[in-house]
């Protein structure tokens, strides 16, 4: 932790000292210099370096703490330092191009140093013109209009609603994009088919292996409204249909929504004895939201999310009780087998991130208050309507000099016993993130 903090301080000081410039009365601009700066090269390379120390106050009575740390308990406080880089590269040759994004991070926590390298995206594209593109490789599709959640994002990993703007890891796909523009109320029509193979060595986290799945999106810009019809079928997951829209009602007010109809979804019921019952039925997941900008540059994002794939609060309580018993058994006998059913559930797609049915999301961000340029404080809260628990995320973002981004934020889950946010493994978390882009 100390190493991380020292390195971080050195980076901040170095970066800030580079940014000090001398006041000028009237800047002069040389157009020929600008023309040199914009020359296009057949290759591009960039990315950022990142340092992120995090301190968490752990709730040692929480079921999720017991599940994660039962065999290696860090104690009441967990300190973690992440150091690493995101590297991006692109090559262009006529109508062909290639792109790759690689994350490489080293983490230090109570278990020591460990590293991880992930190819987030890596694909080749053929773009004979603006009306058409064909791509193959690992990539993110990012379907849907929601900010915190995207129920119609059928061929992507779910995003983290606590950090929804963070880049995601893609899946290996072959995709096309065919665009037509028109005069009149229908301005754009675009069709995006996607083929997603799922085998033992490729996309095996997506669903059942040994199958090729097909998805498609039909987009229209009609009457100044973005509309998407979406579809997924294949044996790796059940067939699903989706619809989304987005529209500016005023120059400072946008509304959006999504609806996904998931056929033959395997609804699970968790009994107190650890038994899992399954029943197939069709379910709806929906989201409605808005983005509003006030005259004082305060942006408010508000969303309601109904998670049709979620479970009842009673089921989660049963899971918490079961984890408690598994933990006690492990402590008394050293037998970890009772954790097996819980780990299997996670492998089958159950997630501890928003497992219940109904959520509200609110984010308020104030651009450049007190005339401080590139400074944006923000406050986010997510409320689980099914059990009344919530979390609070105060946040400060600052970019004091070009290419340097600083973010300081806290995450405080609040809730009673056996509620979603009340039983998070952390009572609080504070993190500082520095990114230097190059």
């Amino acid at each position: 932790m100390k190493t991380g903090v020292v390195l971080l301080c050195a980076l901040v000081v170095a970066a800030l000292s580079c940014g000090v410039s001398i006041a000028e009365e009237t800047p002069t601009f040389d157009l020929s210099e600008i023309e040199k700066e914009v020359e296009k090269r057949p290759y591009a390379f960039g990315g950022f370096l990142q340092a992120q120390p995090t301190v968490s106050g752990l709730d040692r009575d929480s079921p999720l703490y017991k599940l994660k740390f039962y065999d290696n308990e860090p104690g009441g406080t967990l300190e973690q330092s992440d150091l690493g880089a995101r590297l991006e590269g692109a090559l262009h040759y006529g109508d062909l191009s290639a792109f790759a994004r690689l994350d490489s991070f080293l983490t230090h926590d109570h278990e020591g140093w460990h590293g991880k390298m992930t190819l987030m995206e890596g694909y080749v594209s053929y773009k004979p013109g603006p009306h058409m593109a064909v791509e193959a490789g690992k990539r993110v599709t990012k379907w849907g209009k929601g900010y915190a959640w995207n129920p119609v994002s059928f061929v992507d990993r779910p995003k983290d609603p606590e950090d929804p703007e963070e880049a995601l890891e893609g899946y290996y796909v072959a995709a096309g994009d065919f665009i037509r523009s028109f005069d009149g109320p229908l301005q754009t029509l675009a069709f995006t088919p996607v083929i997603l193979p799922v085998y033992e060595d490729i996309n095996d986290e997506f669903g059942q292996t040994g199958h090729v799945n097909v998805a498609a999106k039909l987009y229209a810009l009609i009457w100044d409204t973005d509309l998407d019809l979406l579809f997924f079928t294949g044996a790796s997951r059940t067939t699903r249909w989706g619809f989304d829209f987005s529209k500016n009602l005023l120059s400072n007010l946008e509304i959006h929504g999504e609806a996904a109809w998931i056929q033959d979804f395997e609804e699970k019921t968790f009994l107190a004895n650890g038994q899992v019952l399954s029943d197939e039925s069709d379910v709806w997941s929906t989201l409605v939201g808005m983005r509003y900008l006030t005259e004082t540059d305060l942006t408010a994002i508000f969303e309601y999310y109904h998670n049709g794939e979620g479970v009842d609060p009673g089921d989660v309580k049963n899971l918490y009780s079961y984890i408690g018993r598994a933990y006690d058994a492990y402590k008394q006998t050293g037998d970890r087998s009772l954790f097996g059913p819980i780990n299997r559930l996670t492998k089958e797609g159950f997630t501890w991130r928003n497992p219940l049915r109904d959520y509200l999301y609110l984010r308020l961000s104030q651009k450049e208050p007190f005339d401080i340029l590139y400074f944006t404080p923000a406050f986010t809260t997510m409320v689980c309507l099914n059990d009344g628990s919530f979390n609070l995320i105060p946040e400060l973002n600052y970019s004091p000099i070009t290419n340097l981004e600083l973010r300081l934020r806290g995450i405080i889950p609040v809730g009673g016993d056996q509620t979603e946010y009340g039983e998070k493994q952390q009572d609080w978390r504070a993190e500082f993130r520095l990114r230097y882009f190059f």
């Binding site: 940014g19 914009v38 301005q187 987009y219 973005d226 120059s251 340029l373 000099i401």
Partner: protein, 244 residues
């Protein structure tokens, strides 16, 4: 004889009052035409200068077609590289590579911070968004009073000073519906960009809302170019680089 005298007087009147005969909306259309061709590409540098003199610079590649289609790609700095913006009439989107999908934005927000907001960066033809309500005849300039055609336009009113000889703006004041000054744009440094495009290369702005701060927009390499309509679509935003 009376008829002949009448026609002579009419002809004299027409010859002696050419400026007064220009309709305000005609002047505005000529301002748009003189600022840029109908379909073109250009590069711009945006510079935000803080009261202590420190600066932040952005370089944008921009393509525009017709009166209401414009798309921009950030080339630098590295932290913003690859971001694209798209405007189709009153619809605006921002694409951030990390986020991976276009999101709708509003004209009053700012993707670059500082005094310029999105509608300044993705400026459509003035005649597309405004009607001229009144023309004042000054010594060397026309003063046009503009009123937004709809409520979705960023500034409800503009006061535009137009050089009578060049039919180009020299200064624009942006006001709210109540007449409060939001910002002032100054057009400077006339430059010949070739192909008959002669226009100011620098637009400077200040705002009573950002005391001590100034922002500059420097235009470079403006050139006429035919661009397919499909380049101005959401699906193409992530591929705008391929037009460079």
């Amino acid at each position: 004889m009376t008829k002949t005298l009448f026609f002579i007087l009419l002809a004299l009147l027409a010859l002696t009052t050419p400026a007064y005969a220009l309709d305000g909306n005609e002047i505005l259309a000529r301002v748009d035409k003189n600022l840029a061709p109908d379909s073109y590409e250009m590069y711009r540098k945006l510079v935000n200068v803080e009261p202590d003199g420190s600066k932040k610079e952005f370089i944008l590649f921009t393509v525009k077609k017709g009166r209401d289609k414009i798309a921009g790609l950030f080339i630098s700095p590295a932290s913003d590289k690859g971001r694209t913006t798209l405007r189709l009439g009153e619809n605006m989107w921002l694409y951030i590579p990390n986020v991976g999908k276009p999101v709708r934005i509003t004209s009053l927000q700012s993707v670059v911070g500082g005094v310029f907001n999105n509608s300044d960066i993705m400026q459509l033809d003035y005649a597309e968004e405004y009607d001229v309500t009144r023309v004042e005849d000054l010594d060397k300039e026309h003063l046009l009073h503009l009123k937004a055609k709809t409520r979705t336009v960023a500034y409800d009113q503009l006061r535009m000073w137009v050089d009578k000889e060049k039919i180009l703006p020299t200064k624009i004041e942006c006001l709210t519906e109540a007449g409060m000054l939001i910002k002032t744009l100054y057009f400077k440094d006339m430059k010949d960009f070739g192909d008959g495009i002669i226009r100011p290369a620098v637009m400077e702005t200040d705002s009573p809302l950002y005391k001590g701060y100034r922002s500059y927009m420097i235009f470079a390499k403006i050139q006429a170019r035919e661009i397919p309509d499909e380049a101005f679509t959401l699906n193409f935003m992530s591929r705008l680089e391929s037009l460079r």
